[in-house]
Structures are given as C-alpha cells and as structure tokens.
Symmetry: C2
Subunit: 459 residues, 2 copies
C-alpha cells in the first residue's frame, strides 16, 4: 500500500480537543435551555431514502443533496439506453436510493409521521446533528455543518412563539452575548400587504424582494419589485410599509391603519400582539424593547412559514443571522399527515462559535481537561505515584502520570501544550517526606502540599 499524503474532503473540518471543548460548551448551553423549556432530544439517521428528501428543497436544493451510490453491482439494473444517454440527473434514481440529511426539518417531519402513535402531542423536540450540502465551500460555509433545531408540533398556541423568544434570549445570554436583536414578522402581514396592493398572487415575489432591503437598499428593492410585476403606484403604497419606523407599538399601530381592510393582515398583527403579551406576562416589560424588534421586511427565503417568522442578529459583531425560524401550518403534509401545525427555531452553531471567539466569551477554565500531570522522574517512584494517581481520579480529578521517565523539559512541554494547569513534581525527597511539590503552570508558583490537601485543592 503506497503511502499517500492525506487531506480532508473539500468543505469538511476536523475538530481538535480545544475546538471540541468550545463546541460542546455551546451545545451543552443550548441543550440546558431547551430542556428547561420542556424540549427533549431526538436523533434521526444520517441518511434517508432518496425519495424522503427529493422534492422538499426545490430544484436547487435537490442538486445540493449528497446521494449515496448503491452498494454492490449498482449498474446491473441500469439499461444500456439509460447508460449511453449520459444524463447524470436521470441516472441518479437508478444508481442511488439513499442520500445524506440536508436539514433537520424534513427528517423531523418523517419522524413525526412514522411515530405518530407513540408521541404525545404537542411534541416538543430538539435535535443537534450534522447536515450535508454539496455547496461550493467558502469562508464560513462548509459541506458538513451542525444544525440545532428546536420545534413543537401539534399546538397552535402562541405561547410557543413567546417561549421561542425567551429561549433565544436565555440561551444567547447564557452564552455571554449582551446585545442582540430577535426580529419578528408574520407571514399574514406580508399576505395582507400583497392583498391591499391588489396582488396577492405576487406575495412570494414581493417577500423575496423586500427581504433584500438590508443588502440592496430601497432603490434595489424597488427595482426588483418592478421587474417582478409591480407598478410604480404599488411602490408608493409599499414605501411607508417597508420604511416603517418607531417602537414596536408604533409600528404595529401604523400597520393596523394601513392593513385595516385586510383580515389576514390584521390577524398577523394580532398574533404578534398576543405573543408580546405572553412574553410580558412571563418575563416583565423589559425584554421586548431590549431584544425584540418588529421587522416587516423579514421574510426569510423559505416560504413555508404561515405565521410568525423570527430571525436573530448579534449587534456586537458583524455577522449574518445567528438564528431564525417560524410557524408552518402543515409540516407533515408532505408525508400524508395533514393539519399538524408546528413552530420552531434554529441556532446557527458555526456562526455563534465565531461570535464567541471574536468576543472572547469562552469560559477561561477548561473544565474537561486534565487538571494535574504527575512528572515521571524514575520508574522506581511509580509504586508511590500510581496509588496517588488512583486517589486523585477516585476523587474525580482528571489526572495523568507521564508514561515514561522522559526528560523534564519534554514532560513540561506536554503539560504546556495540553494546557494542564498543575504539575506534580515527586522525587525521592517528596516520597519520603510525603510533602508533594505542586507547581501552578500559569503563575509558576510552587508549593509543598500533603496528599490530602492536594486532593482537597484539586477536587
């Protein structure tokens, strides 16, 4: 076997111990919050039947799904005609029947349908697993990345929406973020706007265009709206709506006037007001003005949302959205189970990772790492150091004995590289006196401690 120089598959990453620690810190913080709100964890398989995924993400999405080649003689059932046609797309269903998970929502819908007799509704689940997309890799965009989704199906109560605002607030604060905005909109408000313009059939075109306000400005949005079939008169009607100003209350109040003739639109406003009332009853008056902003330009590409829509941005670092979600009225319809409403949000773990890195918000103390390294001066000392090592571990202290009597410098470098905070120097003198030399690797300070004091101090 010839030695090859190994490399990573394009768009994928290794995670080192230091990175894993930070990632686990984020995941564990999120999980703790999710559980406090009554959400339970599920996992689904990494690959699904191709038919489960195909057609759920649009034509562009379908292309980005990684397909798994059938095992064995996968060509045996392909006709000569199919082969020589050389149509890559048409050949796919004949040589693949499985594909890697593209998001967590479709597998969750499949899960709910398949397990509908075992689950109690409302079903509150969270799911933190990798997904795979055949995107062109670029800075911050990977072909394998984790999604953290938290959803409830089978309850149309707006208490759920309110709780997602609280989940975002509590989770992001628990991670150390101080200044962030949870934007809220409602699909029914967008429908209402399209209605009063008299072009309800163009709602998707309208939302796609105004969703880009942040990026291309009003002029750009207007240009796109004209291209998509709106008139200059429509733009006049839309302008004050798109440029809505003031507090949340002021915005909602203005919208009520504008949308007075649209039942749909008023319903959307009322839903947001009810969500806000829940948040206030739960957490007082201060949360909403501080963290929540009504933003009717918020549409989010996915147009399966039917009620409230969320998106979260940090204001401390320049970064795209770090989370989003909304309500969808028919999550499981694609698998034949009609009428099950759901609402959920997700956290963008990779972006949150970068934000915490930039703001230096990871906890200083490395709780999962080895706490003390016993220097190995001589094999004959092992009859003393090994029982000590056992005692440390019995007290729950992560501890190591350097496995050979290597040079001191090498052993100290090992402690350094592994960021081990304490080193125990045990020679014949220490063995006889029972007083151990404990060195603090950060301060350089060295003290003599008894075995009992050592364990008390480190555990």
């Amino acid at each position: 076997m010839a030695a090859i120089k190994p490399s990573l598959a394009k768009g994928t990453r290794d995670f080192s111990p230091a990175e894993m620690e930070k990632r686990n810190y984020i995941f564990n913080t999120l999980k703790t919050v999710f559980k406090k709100f009554g959400y339970n964890e599920i996992q689904t398989p990494s690959f699904e039947n191709l038919s489960t995924l195909t057609g759920k993400y649009g034509d562009e999405g379908d292309k980005l799904i990684f397909k798994i080649l059938n095992s064995g003689d996968y060509l045996s059932k392909v006709s000569d005609e199919q082969l020589t046609e050389r149509n890559s797309n048409k050949l796919i269903p004949h040589i693949t029947e499985k594909a890697l998970r593209y998001d967590l929502t479709v597998p969750f819908a499949r899960y709910v349908v398949m397990h509908q007799n075992d689950i109690a509704l409302p079903f509150k689940r969270f799911q933190i697993q990798p997904v795979w997309r055949a995107d062109r890799p670029q800075r911050g965009r990977y072909r394998e990345f984790y999604q953290c989704d938290v959803d409830v199906v089978g309850s149309d109560s707006l208490l759920n929406e309110a709780e997602f605002i609280l989940i975002y607030q509590e989770a992001l604060q628990a991670l150390g973020l101080k200044d962030f905005t949870i934007k809220i909109n409602n699909r029914k408000i967008l429908s209402g706007i399209a209605e009063i313009i008299g072009k309800p059939e163009l709602i998707v075109d309208m939302t796609v265009a105004i969703d880009k306000l942040d990026k291309i400005g009003l002029a750009g949005v207007n240009k796109e709206l004209l291209e998509r079939g709106f008139t200059n008169e429509d733009l006049e009607t839309l302008k004050p709506i798109i440029e809505l100003q003031g507090s949340n209350e002021e915005k909602l109040s203005q919208l009520k006037t504008v949308l007075a003739t649209s039942e749909n639109g008023l319903k959307g406003i009322q839903e947001i007001e009810e969500v806000f009332a829940y948040v206030k009853a739960f957490a007082g008056e201060q949360i909403l003005p501080k963290f929540v902003e009504v933003d009717i330009t918020l549409a989010r590409g996915l147009n399966y949302y039917t009620g409230c829509i969320f998106e979260v941005k940090t204001n401390e670092v320049a970064m795209g959205s770090i989370g989003g979600g909304g309500r969808y009225d028919d999550l499981t319809g694609m698998f034949g189970l009609k009428g099950l409403t759901g609402v959920g949000v997700s956290f963008g773990a990779d972006r949150i990772y970068d934000v915490l890195e930039e703001l230096n918000l990871y906890p200083e103390s490395n709780s999962t790492n080895t706490k003390v390294l016993i220097i190995n001066f001589d094999k004959t000392l092992e009859s003393f150091t090994l029982p000590l090592l056992a005692s440390l571990r019995q007290s729950g202290v992560a501890a190591e004995l350097y496995p050979t009597a290597a040079k001191l410098k090498k052993q100290m470098s090992y402690a350094d590289a592994k960021r081990i905070p304490y080193v125990l120097l045990i020679g014949d003198e220490e063995k006889e006196s029972g007083l151990l030399s404990l060195k603090n690797m950060e301060s350089g300070e060295q003290v003599k401690v008894s075995k009992e004091d050592l364990i008390a101090q480190l555990s």
Copy 2:
C-alpha cells in the same frame, strides 16, 4: 407533490427522547471516565476522500464502504468505453471521490498525520461518532452505528495498556455492570507459538483458527488448522497451549516453559506481566483475578495488532464482546508517518445499551426531562402561572405550562406520556390562597405547597 408513506433507510434507526436519554447516559458515563484518565475529545468529518479509506479494510471492507456520488454532471468525465464496459467496481473512482467513515481508526490516523505539528505526543484522544457500513442489516447489526474509541499514540509505555484495563473496569462499573471479563493476550505470544511449531509464516492462519475456539470447539479448530497447512504433530504441540488452564499466573508460567525458546513469545509474556504489575501498583491486588483473564485464544480478526490484545465480555447477559482493542506499532504508516506506536480500545455502545436494558440498569430518575407540568385550566390564570413558570425555570427546574386550556384528561395524559413526575393544579382557589396543589404522578399523592416550598422541593 404526492404524499409518500415515509420509511427509514434500511439498517438505520431513529432515536426517541427516551432512547436518547439512555444513549446519552452511556456516552456521558464513558466520557467522564475517559477525561479522568487524561483523554480529550476530537471529531473528524463524516466523509473522507475515497483514497483515504480505500485499501485500509481489505477487499471485503472496501465493498462495505458507502461511496458518495459526485455532484453535478458526474458522468461528464466518464468515457463511453468506461460506461459501456458496465463494470460497477471500475467505474467507482470515476463517479465518486468521497465516502462515509467506515471506522474511527483510519480517520484518526489521518488526523494525527495532518495535525502532527499541532499535537503534543503522547496524544490521548477519544472519539464518539457514528460510522457507516453497507452490511446486510440484521438483528443488532445496523448500517449506521456509533463507535466509542479511546487511543493514545506516541507512547510505548505499558502503563497505557494498564490504564485501558482500569478504564474498562471503571467505566463498566460506573454503568452498573458487576461481572465482566477483560481478556488479554499478546500478539507476540501468538508469534512465539507459530515459531516453536516452526511455521511462523502461518501465524495468521493459526490465529484465525484458534480465535474460533469459543464458537467451534477444539475439534473444529483442529479441523481448520489441518486445512490451513498444519500437521497432526503440530496439533499435538498446540493442544496444551490452546487448552491452557489455571490462574493468570499459572497460565503465564506454563507459557514460559512452552515458549522458552522463542524470544518473541517470552517478550509477549513479559509485556503482560508488566501490565499486570502496573495494574497492581495502581489499584491493588483485587482487580486482576476478579476482572482480567489471560486468554491466548484471543486473536481478534484484525491482524494489525502487534502487542497486547484486549476483549471484554459481560458475564451477566449472553452477548458478544462489548469492547476490545490492542497495540498497533504503525498506525500512521499508511499515511507516510512511520514509527508512531499506538494502543487503544473501543466500547460497543449498541451492545452495552442492550445489556443495560436487559439488566434494568438505567437510572430511575430522568434527570433531563421536564420535572413539572402546570395544568392550564383557563387562559385568565396565565397572569399567575406564567410568572410562576418563569421562576421555576430561573431556579433551573425544567417546567412547562400546557399551552392551551385543554381538557384535564388530555393534559394529564400528556404528563403521563412524557413521564413528567409532578403536575401543578392551579385554579382560582390556588391563585388566591397562594397555596398550589402539587400532584406526584407516581404515587398519586397531592399536597398544598407555597411557591417558595415548591421551588425548593423541585430544584
């Protein structure tokens, strides 16, 4: 989009909240032990370049690797000849360049080689991730399953081997297992045996045959040895070795006599003796006779082991091995980095899951689940129940308010199905008196408590 009845891809599983809880219990228990012994977590991507994996698992293994079809027009670079030849195997490298992880060892070797300048040797890592194999699914064998590997590279000290015995002992006991056997052998002893028979070149044939002693008995092993080129005289020499009896000390002592002329064999015995000396120095005399057994029929299919070999069996349930591993002298040679020795073991999480299930060893209390459900009698009560809910969560209590004022029976079923241990019944009376009715769902007992007592009791 036509509704299709969804199903799982063959050989894969969903994990429900109750199953996730049990799986996380196992993984967290293992991780705690691994960390105490100084091992850190890493993760590698789910797919690797095909060239990283091909040729590492033998021809049979190669066939079981799931290949990922190239994206886009994957046929465009395939010649007409290659297509019409209809050779599935030969076509693979032309239409796929990525494949799903087959085990954690090869990606770990790649990791070590690629990160050799960033890691401190000895590098102690654990890794708990799924792997995928295109095996025919059957009871207990899945196409997606987790491996839990813990390995150290860059240290030839037998202290590492001793610590793996201690890791097995501590982890399995922490999971509640009482009676298990950690079998140990040494590849050098097997080499020694092949040497004294005078057929060192047949060592693989010999080990493959005697590895089956448990399954096919001595007669079966002998039959296979004859077929593989051994003579009846060889069988006579082998018999007392294969049927070695007595305590570990007695076995090692007999082996010393038998292998007196084999330097290799004596080295293997000496290695086991040194491992045992470490275990005794660390944990006293009792561990070895209770949990560790020298078993020279232990070979394990993989023939890359060069030193000690381990395998673990539970004696409480009929079940194959629940773990195994050993030392390999040249882990990273396949990627061009020579001379790096490693030793590691793995835990069979799926089998351990079944063992704990059968022995009813999962902790009773469900620490990750919702602790209390507030029954929703009437929307008007929410001004009282929502702040209470907030207080409970602020004290770290996982709590829910049923999202609508549904029928009491429905809300109680929800608590039941979700195994929520307490239910709070709050009506107008409770709201006014401030004394809340707390019902224990298991005992049925119902008491009146103040808000403060409630929080103190549940947190």
